[in-house]
Symmetry: none
Subunit: 243 residues, 2 copies
Amino acid sequence: MLSHIKIVLVETTHPGNIGAVARAMKNMKMNNLWLVAPKIFPSADATSRASGADDVLAAATVCGCLQEAVADCQLVIGASARCRAISWPEITPRTCAEICVINEPYQSVAIVFGRENSGLKNHELDLCHYLLRIPCNAEYSSLNIAAAVQVVCYEFFVAAGLQGTAMRIGDKGECPLATAAQMESFYTHLYEALTDIGFIHPEKSKSIMRRLRRIYNRIQLDTKELDILRGILRMSQDNQKSR
Amino acid sequence: MLSHIKIVLVETTHPGNIGAVARAMKNMKMNNLWLVAPKIFPSADATSRASGADDVLAAATVCGCLQEAVADCQLVIGASARCRAISWPEITPRTCAEICVINEPYQSVAIVFGRENSGLKNHELDLCHYLLRIPCNAEYSSLNIAAAVQVVCYEFFVAAGLQGTAMRIGDKGECPLATAAQMESFYTHLYEALTDIGFIHPEKSKSIMRRLRRIYNRIQLDTKELDILRGILRMSQDNQKSR
C-alpha cells in the first residue's frame, strides 16, 4: 500500500544509519529504499542495525546521483532542517502524509533525505517540489537520519490507516461494559455494605455516595470487574454478619 | 514546556540507545530522562550517539527500580508492542500527547520504555495506567527504542504547538491527582484489608490484585477520593479486628 513511496538517502556516511533506516521503514510497512552513492554499502554495520529488516536492505537500489533515483517520480519531497536563503514551499510530515497517502493522486513519490552532516545541496533541492520539515526544537534541530525517517514513515502508516483499528481509550474488549442498571444494583449493594461496616451515617450518606458514584462511574467497569467488586462486598458483609 | 513529562528507560542494554534517546528527546525540547538500572552508564557510546544532547544525558537520573522512577507521577504510561493475556487500556502516541500535553491535567507524567529485547514485565505494567502502542507493521513491530522515543516525543512537540486550541477534557481541577507512591500505598492497604476479610487467598492473590490495579489505575483518583477509599478500608479492618 505504501510501496509507491520511495525513501531516498543521499550520500549517507554511516552504514549503521542505512540499516536503521531500513528497520524504521519496515516497521511502518515500507520497503522501497534507494541509496544515492552511499559511502559504505553493503556493510555488516548496516545489516546489524537493520535488525531483521535485511529484506529491505537487500532490495535497496543503489545509484549514482539523485536525478537517477527520482527519474520516475511524480512528486519529489526533500527533507531538510536547514534554513535557506531561497525559501522553499514547506510541509510538515503530517501534511506530507496527507498529500502522498490520503489524497493519493501520485503513482510514484520520493522522499529524499540528505547527508548526515550537510543535508541536501541546492542543486538537489532544485529537483524537489516541497521541503519537508519535521517540527522540532529550533535550538537543536538536527534529527538522526533514521529517527527522521521513522517519524515520516510513521505519519505515512497512520495516514494509510494500515492498523485498521482506531484505538479506543478504556476499551479492553474483553467482556461487555456494565449497564446503568447493573451499576445501580452495585451502588445499592455498596451502600448496604458500607452501612454494615458503619462507614456510612444516614445524615451524611448522600454526599459520600455521590462521591463514590463519581469514582465508579468514571471507571467504566466491565461486567467481570463488577463481579469482583461485588464479591468483595459480599465477603465483607458475610464477615460482618458472622460477628 | 514539556518538562513535566519524564522519559523512563528500564534496564536498557545498549548504552548507544540511551544516547540516541537523549538526542531524540532534545530534538523535541524534552529533557527529563530517567534510567532504571541501565546495564552500562555512563558510557562513551551513549555520549557519542547523543550527538550534542550531552546535557540531557548529564542531567539523567539513574535509579534502581521502576517504582522509584514513577513515585511522584500522577500518570504512568508504558510503551509496549507485546500482546498480553490481560489486555490493558491502549492508546496511540497521538492520543497520549492529547492526554499529556493538550488536556494537561497532570503535573507529572512518566512514559516508560522497556528492555530492548523483552519490553516491560507484568509487575512493571501493573504500575501503568495505559499501554502506549505505536501503530506499526503487525509482522515487524519492534521499533528501535530511540526510534520509538522519537515518535512519541514528536507527537508531544506537535501537540504542544497546538496547545490552547483544544478543549480540556477529563480535568476535574478540584484537588491534585494521586501520585504513584500514594497509589502503591493504597494497593498495599487494599491487599491487607482483602486478606483480613478473607477475600484474597495467597495462591490466587496475584491475578486478583492485578485486576484491581487495572481498575483503580484506570480511575485516576484524586487525593480526596483516595482518602475516602482508604477510610472505607480502615473501617472494614477495624470491624474485622473487633470481632
